[in-house]
Structure formats: structure tokens, C-alpha cells
């Protein structure tokens, strides 16, 4: 599918960048032009996402075959024939999506569009803010569509820089601490990933079809094929020491993004300090990159190690669920509470994918999407109250239900979705993740279900503290939610309710790939030691 | 009365005296004009040398040609130098070379 000579994935990825360039040409005092330009470009992105949704072939699996990928764009990007001691450098511009990435592409388009409207109230260096926001958008979208590891790494890093400035400049009182913590933490992970990329690069060779010579490539799909590993190279074979090490390094790199206990402490700080729209993006999209990368990279590239370490992964999932919920319960800052609830909910994703079966994997991908929408709503909701009251202390509120009835109604949907109420989307993904996990790890899953009760506990407690009871005198002037805020929340609420009742439109996108991924990991991963090239 | 035969030595002697006077002027004078005059003396002492060697050294007319070159050169040098001095005087109200130290500061 081509527009003006570029494929749809190129468009959807680089449209925001185009928007950023245009924003840079707008005078910095013309706030409205800047905002509407950003809104326009992210809206185009949403339209492209919808086009992708309707043209996506649900039957194709993808994962490790180029034939199964859709909307593929593959060109040679950098090709330097002879570099001292490094040999030939061959990097491809390789984009494509399958069932693992489609939900994420849709989510990114949606959340970024909403984030632009959530940023309407920014009044400090507006031009810079929106330019960075659009750059961030490109980075995130790129991560989800890139199939060349080098390209993936570039997008991964591109996204880091605007995030740093968005937190560091437009954030709350401790913004600099939070921004630096976020940046360094992620960079630490990136370094580990870079090492693994290099190790893979030097281990994998393919034959150049034109010249017939052997060359190293960064193509991810190539790295998933056991036959491509050069015999005797560092990562060749199965179940070798270095493969396990590489898997763990990748795991840490991605676990920081998820974030998995004990690498999670950047998250509450970053969330609390970031402006509302950035928290929305952070929780809605950025966290998904970690789990997405595990499914896209760790599992198919190291199926042996993935299988070997599946149980520890499940235990990490369990810790995230219960630990996140308990710590969330202890918070008195509204935003921090939501941040820890994210940790708890991402634990469900980890638990689901560690099960390595269809229900678990589908539940995990679906939970990624649902958590994106639900947490985005929760952060928008906190933003609404913070804009009015300029505080987030849970104990300072009370009785807002009568003062802000519309707000209360929309917020109840988000809260109940977060605590996994049936009829709302969070429930289905949670149940599927548990269904899958239980088939593989009986006791870990049973222990994890405690999280369901705890989540209900802190969510309802928060609801009670903020909305129920008598209204304190100082809040009698708070106004109800306005049209723009409604506009950001209602689409999310509609999606949450619709997918809660009938999840198939979303599940159908991912089942083929989930099945295939499970199959690949299980069959390749369970091969005997030493089998392989 | 018998004048001693005038030879090369005498010319060189005159030239040496002129050169010394020129050097002395260049080194000791603070006035730029005087310095320039010293330079003229040095050049002329060189001219005398050239001509003397031309006459007594068997160098034909080469020495005289060079001397004419030097005269032309000295004339143009004097023109440019005096123009610079004039400009310096216009801007700084002085021709004292010790006070013209703008580049140094």
C-alpha cells in the first residue's frame, strides 16, 4: 500500500516528524496554529491506523517470516562495502507489522492524538513542547514497526531524548531528578541491548543474493532463524552459556521499560513529575515497548532461553502484580498510586506471556492494549483534578461526586475497568492471561489472583477518599469536567466498554501471530541441547 | 699637492659611514620621519656600494642597474611610508613610533 511513493508504515511513522518540521516554522507566539498542526498530524496518523486496521489480513502470522509480515517496506539503507576490521556494513530500512505490533500501532496512534488534546493547557514554551511531542510520536511508532534491529535501536533511542526534555522542562517540582533518573535508567538498558545486538550481528550471516558473498545483517527476522547462525560464533547453537547471558541482558534492557520489579523505581518518579499528557504517553505506550520487545525480539530470537527462563519470568509477573498492588495501596499521591497500579497491571502482561500458550499470549497482548487505554484514562483523570485543585493528595479530597457528577461517572468507568470489572476490557485480558498462566504455572497463578482483591481494595478506597463522603469547604468551587477533557476521555471509555463486551475485533488481529509465536518458541525452544547449525 | 689615488676603499668607507649613520638614525630616532630618513641613508649607502663594485669589481653595468632599481624602490617606499605616517598622524596625532602601539595592546 503506497502513498506518493512511500509505504503506509513510513507515512504513519514519519508523519509526526513532518508535523514537527512544520511546527518549527510557525512563530512561537502563535499557540493555536502550533496546537492545531499537531492535532492535524496526529489525526492523520489515527486515520492511517484505521486504514491499517481494515486492511490487515487477520490470517497471516508473521513473527519470524517476512512472507507473514504485512505492509512490508524493505530497502537497503546503509551499505558500506569495506570498513576496517568491521567488514561490510549492511543496514536495511525494514518496516513491517504482524499481530504483535498491530495493536500497538493502533494504540500509539490513538494515545498520541489524545495526548495532543491533553496538552492544550501547556503554556510554557509551547512550540518546543509540541515539536518534542511529535518527535516522540515518531520514535514510538518506529519502535513498533521496525524489523531491522539497527533501525529498532535508533527509534528506541530517538524516543528517549524528547522524553527527557518533556519531563525535565515541563514537569513538576522534582522534574530534573525524575528526568535524569528516567534517562540514565533507560540508557543503561539500551547499552545492554546494544551489546546483544552486536553479538547477534557478528553471529549471524546471510548470503548476499547479488554478489554471493556472506555478510552480516541487522535484519531481525534473519536473527530468528537458527540456520543463519555461523557455526562456532558466540551465539550459535541452542542452550549455550552465551545465549542465556544474551537473553538475560536483553531481559534487563526490556524489563527496565516494562518496568519489572526491581527495576521499577524510575516509573513513579517519572509519572509523578511528568505533565499529564506525558504521563499518559509514558504509561499508555512506553511501558508496552518493554513487553512488546520481549515478544518481538527475546522470544523468537532466543526461544531456548525463553523456555528455560519462563518460570522465573512468571515469578517476576507475580511479584509485579502483588507488590505493585500493595505499594499502590499505601500511596497518598493520586498519580503515584496510578503509577504503581501500572506496575501491577503490567505484571499481568508478564505473567500472561510467560505462560507460553495461546490464551496467555493473547491475554498479554490484549492487556497491553487495554492497559494503554485504561491507564491513559486514569492519568487524564488525575490531570483533570490536578488542573483544578493543584494538589494530588488523596486525603485532601472527598465528596467530589456531587460537585463533579460527569467527572465522577467517567471516572468510575476507568476505575472499574482498572480493577477488572467484567463488561470492561481490562477484565477480558486479565482473565485470558490468568487462564493461560494457570495451565502452565498453577501455584504462581493462584498466588497472583490475590492481586485481583488488592486491586479492588485500593481502587475502591481511592474512589471513596476522593469522591464519596462529605465535600470539604475548600472544594466547593471546583467546576465539572469541560468539553475538551470530555473529548479526550470519551473515546477511550467507548473503546473500553466496547472491547469489554465484544473483544473479537481486537483479538482477531493477534490470535494468528500469538499462536504462531507460541508454536515457534515451544518447538524450537524444546529442541535438545546441541541441535542446530 | 698630490691627492691620493681614490680607490674602492674610499667608496666603501663612505658607504660604511653612511650606513652607520642610517642605522643610528633608525635605532635612536623616535620620530617616524627621521626613521624613514635613516632608512634612506641605508639604502643610499647600499647604492654607493653597488656602484663602487660596479666600477672596480669588473661587474660591468649590473651594479648600476641595481642601483637604479634601488632608487626607484626607495622612492616608492618613501611614498607609501610617508602616506602611512600621514595617516597615523591623522588618527593618533603623533608620529612617535613608541606611541604607535595599537596592535600590541
Amino acid at each position: 500500500m503506497q502513498f506518493l511513493g512511500f509505504g503506509i508504515l513510513t507515512w504513519i511513522t514519519f508523519l509526526p516528524l513532518l508535523g514537527m518540521i512544520i511546527v518549527l516554522f510557525i512563530p512561537k507566539t502563535n499557540w493555536n496554529a502550533i496546537r492545531w498542526t499537531s492535532a492535524f498530524f496526529t489525526f492523520l496518523q489515527v486515520i492511517l491506523a484505521v486504514v491499517i486496521y481494515f486492511n490487515y489480513d487477520r490470517g497471516m502470522a508473521g513473527v519470524n517470516t517476512q512472507a507473514g509480515m504485512q505492509f512490508v517496506e524493505k530497502y537497503t539503507w546503509i551499505d558500506i562495502k569495506q570498513v576496517a576490521w568491521f567488514g561490510r556494513i549492511h543496514i536495511e530500512y525494514f518496516l513491517g507489522i504482524d499481530g504483535l505490533s498491530v495493536p500497538m500501532v493502533l494504540l500509539t496512534g490513538l494515545i498520541c492524538f489524545i495526548a495532543v488534546f491533553a496538552s492544550w493547557g501547556i503554556d510554557k514554551a509551547v512550540k518546543g513542547y509540541f515539536a518534542l511531542l511529535l518527535l516522540l510520536d515518531t520514535g514510538m511508532m518506529g519502535v513498533f514497526v521496525a524489523l531491522d534491529f539497527f533501525l529498532f535501536y535508533i527509534f528506541w533511542e530517538v524516543m528517549l531524548l524528547p522524553m527527557y526534555f518533556l519531563i525535565g522542562i515541563w514537569g513538576g517540582p522534582r522534574r530534573e531528578y525524575a528526568a535524569i533518573k528516567f534517562f540514565l535508567y533507560t540508557l543503561f538498558g539500551s547499552v545492554l541491548m546494544l551489546l546483544v545486538i552486536l553479538a547477534l550481528y557478528f553471529s549471524v550471516t546471510v548470503t548476499d543474493p547479488t554478489t554471493g558473498e556472506k555478510m552480516h545483517v541487522f535484519n531481525m527476522l534473519t536473527m530468528m532463524e537458527a540456520a543463519n547462525f555461523e557455526p562456532g560464533s558466540l551465539l550459535a547453537g541452542l542452550h549455550t552459556y552465551w545465549r542465556y547471558v544474551a537473553y538475560i541482558a536483553l531481559f534487563i534492557a526490556f524489563a527496565i521499560k516494562v518496568p519489572i520489579f526491581p527495576f521499577h523505581t524510575w516509573l513513579p518518579d517519572a509519572h509523578v513529575e511528568a505533565p499529564t499528557a506525558i504521563s499518559v504517553i509514558l504509561a499508555g505506550i512506553l511501558l508496552k515497548m518493554g513487553t512488546y520487545a520481549m515478544m518481538r525480539i527475546s522470544f523468537p530470537m532466543f526461544p531456548d532461553a525463553a523456555l528455560y527462563y519462563a518460570k522465573p519470568l512468571a515469578i517476576f509477573g507475580f511479584i509485579n502484580i502483588v507488590y505493585g498492588a500493595l505499594v499502590a495501596m499505601a500511596q497518598t499521591d493520586f498519580k503515584k498510586l496510578i503509577a504503581y497500579s501500572s506496575i501491577s497491571h503490567m505484571g499481568i502482561v508478564v505473567l500472561g506471556m510467560s505462560a507460553l500458550n495461546t490464551q496467555g499470549m493473547t491475554g498479554a497482548i490484549f492487556q497491553m492494549f487495554n492497559h494503554g487505554t485504561i491507564t491513559a484514562m486514569l492519568f487524564l483523570i488525575v490531570g483533570v483534578i490536578y488542573d483544578r485543585a493543584h494538589t494530588r493528595g488523596l486525603d485532601e479530597f472527598g465528596g467530589l461526586a456531587n460537585q463533579m457528577p460527569k467527572y465522577f461517572a467517567i471516572m468510575s468507568i476507568a476505575f472499574f475497568a482498572a480493577l477488572g470489572l467484567p463488561g470492561l476490557s481490562g477484565f477480558i485480558s486479565e482473565v485470558f492471561a490468568f487462564l493461560g498462566a494457570f495451565q502452565t504455572y498453577r501455584w504462581i497463578t493462584i498466588a497472583s489472583t490475590v492481586g485481583i482483591v488488592l486491586t479492588a481494595g485500593y481502587m475502591l478506597w481511592t474512589l471513596q477518599r476522593v469522591f464519596l463522603g462529605p465535600l470539604p469547604e475548600r472544594w466547593t468551587k471546583l467546576t465539572d469536567i469541560n468539553g475538551r477533557e470530555m473529548f479526550t476521555l470519551v473515546p477511550l471509555a467507548a473503546i473500553i466498554i466496547f472491547l469489554g463486551l465484544y473483544p473479537s475485533p481486537m483479538l482477531d488481529l493477534m490470535t494468528a501471530s500469538a499462536n504462531y509465536l507460541v508454536d515457534v518458541v515451544k518447538t524450537t525452544g524444546s529442541m535438545a541441547v546441541g541441535v542446530g547449525p | 699637492m698630490m691627492f691620493p689615488q681614490i680607490g674602492l676603499t674610499h667608496y666603501l668607507f663612505i658607504s660604511a659611514i653612511l650606513f652607520s649613520l642610517g642605522i643610528f638614525g633608525v635605532i635612536t630616532r623616535r620620530n617616524a620621519i627621521m626613521v624613514l630618513m635613516g632608512i634612506e641613508l641605508i639604502l643610499n649607502s647600499a647604492n654607493i656600494n653597488f656602484i663602487a663594485f660596479s666600477r672596480y669589481g669588473g661587474l660591468n653595468l649590473d651594479g648600476q642597474a641595481v642601483a637604479i632599481f634601488v632608487i626607484i624602490l626607495a622612492a616608492s617606499e618613501a611614498v607609501i611610508a610617508l602616506a602611512i605616517v600621514l595617516n597615523i598622524f591623522k588618527t593618533l596625532q603623533t608620529v612617535n613610533v613608541d606611541e604607535v602601539n595599537k596592535l600590541r595592546q
Partner: protein, 690 residues
């Protein structure tokens, strides 16, 4: 009437209240009278339709189970399993058809009652919307044919219960009670979910039919009978939460913070009975061990509820504990194998307990107005010690209340006698068959206690003299919308609607249509078969009737002796057995126990973990940063002093030379010329000899 028609009608019944809820949430406040008659009308339509379904089912398809399903999720070709789809759907068997009527009748009349009771409430439209949501969810539980939908609606009734208990959320006690109800229910639900996980992991389906037929075909979860028992008990755990069984019964009394019609609908007649219905639905997979546990839990719950009810003074709390106790009866009935009796008791209890609650609502309503009239804002309108003598002022409420009280106490010619007697006969038979004699003993003890505390309630409320005689003048009988439901429930609490024999229901229509399902579990794990059990019940029937007449009569006499004729001094007794009295008054200290262990344990853990997260985990991160900073400081010093020192040394030496040499550099051409001259002289002197 084809099967499809019946299924379509059931779907219509299911979605009518939901439609009402949606309309009420968006337009409720703009509808005439805030949509109360609209919502009530919808429920009465549903009520009529459910009678049609009941009739059609019993007359035409009494032997079949009607099912309608649709594909909900398609997992595609699952590795190692093949194609996997999840289907959702509804099914109507005789049990569901009967339950459909129970739910719609209670719901419709409670709607009607609410029009009077809730008049002038701040959130009138919202209230009716949530009643609609509840009715939808409850009907969903009744109609579902699979575990997943059961769980979905299970949670949804929990949600509507939460919303309605917290209807007056300005009161902290109300929002606390709502939260408690939801969380305690969630604990049970988690058990239920794990049960579902076990079943799904084994059979890869949620459908009741397919799971039971797989079990019947000899496929047991993880190849072990104990896992089957565990699955049954975990599913039962959901019922423990929802039906307020020991040890999760603590939420129900607090739930009385909700409006009284809500208590009647949700916390007396329907939602709390959903647990019993769930056990009935999954009866085929319950092993003998599981059923025994269910029976004991039921018996203990019945005892706890009854003993606490004796000393409570809040009219609604007495009824709440009585509900707990009666639910225990139903569970016990199911547990011992008296399936039809248990379900029959569910239905009769729904009528008379809904009636009791609505009656108490009528009383509270009247008391509230009277207290308001005399300007008394301190007395509790729900405290029975502030009542008495209401009989003369509220005749309809009194007479209907009396009928309900007779029914719950198990006095002959009432529906309650029929159902309770069958359960007690079942326990007697079970005790005889298996030797578990504690069950019938507890059953009869509770029957006596029930008669006692219910008549205590009746006497203190309606008989005798009013505590403040002047106030009685302001007490008025409630309006028609409130009395009509009472009369309806009172009428259907007579035996004649269920059996022409006032001393035995087993010949009535309910027992012939709703029969115990055939167990699917392996024969070694089965409870006594239906034939053996029925034989035993048949023999136990006459002694059961005599015994129950005896204990009920005894209880009633004791109540009259204590509170009406005042032959026995209740206060003196309470003082004499103060330990027992306090134990009952403080609800066996369950709330205190849970607060001290579970609640405080969780709060403590969370604080410790928060500290751990802030100080230890984040401390390590910040510590790493600190160590990095310190080492960078050290290496910075090294860099500055040693490495840079060497560089600076070179520069210093150069600088020193420069300092010396700069003396030569005057910037004066003349000085340079001197040097040049000097140089020339030197060169001349050096080379002159050559």
C-alpha cells in the same frame, strides 16, 4: 411456541432492564417523574414475559434444556490443541425458568415499592437506573450456560450491589459498607475464578454442559479426584462470598446501609441467593466431599446468623442475620442432597424475606416521618427499642408482616413450612445415612431460634405499647405503591400455590419440575444416589414434621413469654449470661477478628512494602547513583591533579620560558634592529677568519 421463541423471550427479559439502565443513565433526569414508572413498567413487562417462558417451558419442553449460543472469541488454531473457540450463550432449564420468575417478581414489586419509599430522594433517577442494572445482571446469572458469563454477571451484581449500598454515599458508613461488600465478595470471586481456571485448563471450555459431560466421561482435572473436589469447593467459594456464608458473611449486615428496598431485592431475595443458585447449577460436578463441606458451612452459617439475630436491635440487621441464617439453610439443603428442597426454600424465602424487608421499610418510612414530625433527630428510626404498638396504626403492614413471620418460623399452612420442613427432613435422612448427626441437630436448633427472634422482632415492633405514646399519633400507614407489594408477597406465602398438601411439598409442581441433576462425578466420589436419598427422606418425613412443629412452637412461645407477657426477664438473662450475650451482640467478634488480622495485616504489609520500595529498592538505585558520583568525584580529582597536573606542568614550563623571553619582545622595531645588528656583528666576528 418454538424453542427459539422461548429463547428470544428470555433474551428480551434479560435486556429490558439493561435498556432501562442505559436510558436512565443518560436521560433519567429529563424523563417524566425521573423515569420511575418507565423502569418499573419495563420490569413488569419482563415479569409477564417470564411467566410466559415458565409456562412454555413447563408445558412444552419440560424435559429438554434449551440453549442458544454464539461465538464470542476465536483463538484460531492453538498449538498442541487444535482450533479453539469460546462460545457464550444462554440456557433455560426448569430451574432457570423458575428462577426467572423469582427474580422478576421480586424485582418488579421492589421497583413499585421504591416509587413510594424513595420519593423525593436526591438521586432518584440514578437509583432506578441501578435497580435496572442489577436486574439485568441477576437475570444474566440465571440464564447463563457457561462459567465465564456466570462470573461476568456475578461481578456485575456485585457492582450494582456496591453502587446501591453506597446510594447515600455522603455517609461514610454507607461508602464503607459498599466498599466492604465489594471487597469481601471479591475474595470469594477470586476463589470462583481459580475454580474456573482449573476447569478451563482441563477442558478448554466454559460451557456447563461440555464440562459436565467431560467429567461424566471420566476426565478429571489433572487426573486427581481431589482436584475435582477442589474445583467444586473453589466454585463454591464464589457462592460463600455472594451468599454471605461463613466465613465471608460479614459484609451482609453492613450492606443494610443501602435503601431498604435494595436490601429487600439484593440482600434478601435475589443476589444473595445467587450463590445457592450457583451451587445448584454446578451440582453435577460436586463430589461427596465437596457437598459435605457445603452442608457444614451452611449449617454453621445458619447457626451463626440465628444466634446473632437474637440480640440485635436494628430492625434491618435482625432481618439481615436472619437472611444469613436462611441462606445457610439452603446451602445445607443442597449439601445434604435435598436439592429441590433447597431451591424451593430459595423461592419461598425470596417471597417472605422480600416481604419482611419491604415491611420493615414501611415501618422505617413511617417512623422516620413520625420522628421528623415531633422534631426528634436523635432517635434511630430503625431501632426496635424505639417502636412498639404500631399494629393499630399500620394494619396492612402488621398483618402482612405477621404472615411473613409465620412463614419464616415454619408454621404450617405457609410456604416457609413446606420448604423448611423438606430441608430438615433431608438433613435427618442424611444424618441417618452417613452418621453426620450434627447437621439435623443444628438445623432444628436454628429453626427454634428463628421462630424466637422473628417473634421477638414482631412483638417489639407491632405489639404492646409505643415507647413514646405521643409519637404514635404521627405514625401513618404507607401508601398504596408500598402496601400492594406487601399484600402480593403475603398472598404467595401461602402453601396453596405450591402444593395442595399443606404438610408436604414433594407432591407439588416445584418438586416435579425442578429435580436434582444426575451427578457427573466418578461413582467413588458420588454422594448417596437420588433413589437411596429419597427413600431415606420418605422415612424421615413424619418425624421431621413433628419435630419442626415442636421447635417452632417452642420458639414462638418463648418469644411471647419473654417480650409480650414478660414472664421471663430478658435483661436479667442477658446479665446472667453476659459473656454469651456479648458474644452474640458483637457478632461473634468476626469483624474485630478480620480487622485485627486481614485488614491490619494488609495495611501493615503495604506500609512495610512502601517503605521497602522507597528506601531499599529506590535506595539501591539512588545508592548506585551516589557511588557513581563519589567515584566520579575521585576520578575527577585524579584527573584534575595528576593527569591535568602533568599537562599544566608542560604549560607552566612553556609559560616560564615565555616570561623570560618576553623581555626581549618589546614590540619596537628599533630594538629588533639592534638585535639584528648585534647578530650580524656576532656572525661577522665568528666567520671573519674564513
Amino acid at each position: 411456541m418454538t424453542q427459539d421463541t422461548l429463547l428470544t423471550l428470555s433474551l428480551l427479559i434479560l435486556f429490558l432492564p439493561l435498556f432501562g439502565f442505559v436510558v436512565q443513565s443518560f436521560f433519567g433526569r429529563r424523563l417524566p417523574r425521573q423515569g420511575d414508572w418507565f423502569e418499573t413498567g419495563l420490569l413488569f413487562v419482563a415479569l409477564l414475559l417470564s411467566f410466559v417462558v415458565l409456562y412454555g417451558k413447563f408445558r412444552l419442553y419440560s424435559e429438554e434444556t434449551l440453549q442458544g449460543t454464539f461465538r464470542w472469541v476465536d483463538f484460531g488454531n492453538v498449538p498442541g490443541l487444535g482450533p479453539l473457540q469460546l462460545y457464550l450463550g444462554i440456557m433455560i432449564d426448569n430451574l432457570a425458568a423458575a428462577m426467572l420468575v423469582v427474580v422478576t417478581v421480586v424485582s418488579a414489586f421492589v421497583h413499585l415499592f421504591s416509587i413510594g419509599y424513595m420519593a423525593g430522594d436526591v438521586r432518584y433517577a440514578r437509583y432506578f437506573g441501578f435497580l435496572g442494572l442489577f436486574s439485568f445482571s441477576m437475570l444474566g446469572i440465571v440464564l447463563t450456560n457457561n462459567f465465564l458469563m456466570m462470573y461476568i454477571f456475578w461481578e456485575l451484581v456485585g457492582l450494582s450491589s456496591y453502587l446501591l449500598i453506597g446510594h447515600w454515599y455522603e455517609r461514610k458508613s454507607a461508602s464503607d459498607a459498599a466498599k466492604k461488600a465489594f471487597i469481601v465478595n471479591r475474595i470469594g470471586d477470586v476463589g470462583f475464578l481459580v475454580g474456573i481456571l482449573i476447569l478451563f485448563a482441563m477442558y478448554h471450555t466454559f460451557s456447563f454442559d461440555r464440562i459436565f459431560s467431560e467429567i461424566g466421561a471420566g476426565s478429571i482435572p489433572f487426573g486427581s479426584g481431589s482436584w475435582l473436589t477442589a474445583a467444586g469447593l473453589l466454585v463454591f467459594m464464589g457462592a460463600v462470598g455472594k451468599s454471605a456464608q461463613f466465613p465471608l458473611h460479614v459484609w451482609l449486615p453492613d450492606a443494610m446501609e443501602g435503601p431498604t428496598p435494595v436490601s429487600a431485592l439484593i440482600h434478601a431475595a435475589t443476589m444473595v441467593a445467587a450463590g445457592v443458585y450457583l451451587v445448584a447449577r454446578t451440582y453435577a460436578m460436586m463430589t461427596a466431599d465437596a457437598l459435605l463441606v457445603i452442608a457444614y458451612i451452611g449449617a454453621v452459617t445458619a447457626l451463626i446468623g440465628a444466634t446473632i439475630a437474637i440480640t440485635q436491635t436494628d430492625i434491618k440487621r435482625v432481618l439481615a442475620y436472619s437472611t444469613i441464617s436462611q441462606l445457610g439453610y439452603m446451602m445445607m439443603g443442597l449439601g445434604v442432597g435435598a436439592f429441590s428442597a433447597g431451591m424451593f426454600h430459595l423461592m419461598t424465602h425470596a417471597w417472605f424475606k422480600a416481604g419482611l424487608f419491604l415491611g420493615s421499610g414501611s415501618v422505617i418510612h413511617a417512623m422516620h416521618h413520625a420522628l421528623h414530625h415531633v422534631g426528634d433527630h436523635h432517635s434511630d428510626p430503625q431501632d426496635i427499642r424505639n417502636m412498639g404498638g404500631l399494629r393499630r396504626k399500620m394494619p396492612i403492614t402488621f398483618w402482612t408482616f405477621l404472615i411473613f413471620t409465620l412463614a419464616i418460623s415454619g408454621v404450617p399452612f405457609t410456604s416457609g413450612f413446606l420448604s423448611k420442613d423438606e430441608i430438615l427432613a433431608g438433613t435427618l435422612a442424611f444424618g441417618g445415612l452417613t452418621g453426620h448427626v450434627l447437621l439435623p441437630i443444628l438445623g432444628y436448633l436454628v429453626a427454634g431460634l428463628t421462630a424466637f427472634y422473628m417473634f421477638r422482632l414482631l412483638i417489639l415492633t407491632f405489639l404492646g405499647d409505643h415507647v413514646v405514646p405521643a409519637r404514635l399519633d404521627h405514625v401513618e400507614e404507607s401508601g398504596k405503591v408500598m402496601t400492594i407489594p406487601l399484600i402480593v408477597f403475603a398472598v404467595i406465602s401461602f402453601f396453596i400455590f405450591y402444593s395442595f398438601n399443606p404438610f408436604g411439598a414433594s407432591s407439588g409442581w416445584y418438586f416435579s419440575y425442578v429435580e436434582r441433576p444426575i451427578s457427573a462425578v466418578p461413582s467413588v466420589q458420588q454422594a448417596a444416589s437420588i433413589e437411596v436419598f429419597e427413600e431415606a427422606v420418605h422415612h424421615a418425613h413424619v418425624p421431621a414434621i413433628l419435630l419442626s412443629l415442636l421447635v417452632a412452637g417452642g420458639g414462638i412461645l418463648l418469644a411471647f413469654g419473654t417480650y409480650y407477657w414478660k414472664k421471663i426477664n430478658a435483661e436479667a438473662l442477658a446479665a446472667r449470661f453476659s459473656a454469651l450475650y456479648k458474644f452474640s451482640l458483637n457478632k461473634w467478634y468476626f469483624d474485630d477478628l478480620y480487622n485485627a488480622t486481614v485488614v491490619r495485616g494488609t495495611l501493615g504489609t503495604m506500609r512495610v512494602l512502601r517503605w521497602f520500595d522507597d528506601k531499599v529498592i529506590d535506595g539501591i538505585v539512588n545508592g548506585t547513583a551516589f557511588v557513581t558520583k563519589v567515584s566520579s568525584f575521585g576520578s575527577g580529582r585524579f584527573d584534575n591533579v595528576v593527569i591535568d597536573g602533568m599537562v599544566n606542568l608542560v604549560a607552566y614550563i612553556t609559560g616560564f620560558c615565555g616570561l623570560v623571553l618576553r623581555l626581549v619582545q618589546t614590540g619596537k622595531v628599533q630594538t629588533y634592529i639592534v638585535f639584528v645588528l648585534f647578530g650580524v656583528v656576532v656572525f661577522f666576528l665568528l666567520f671573519r677568519s674564513v
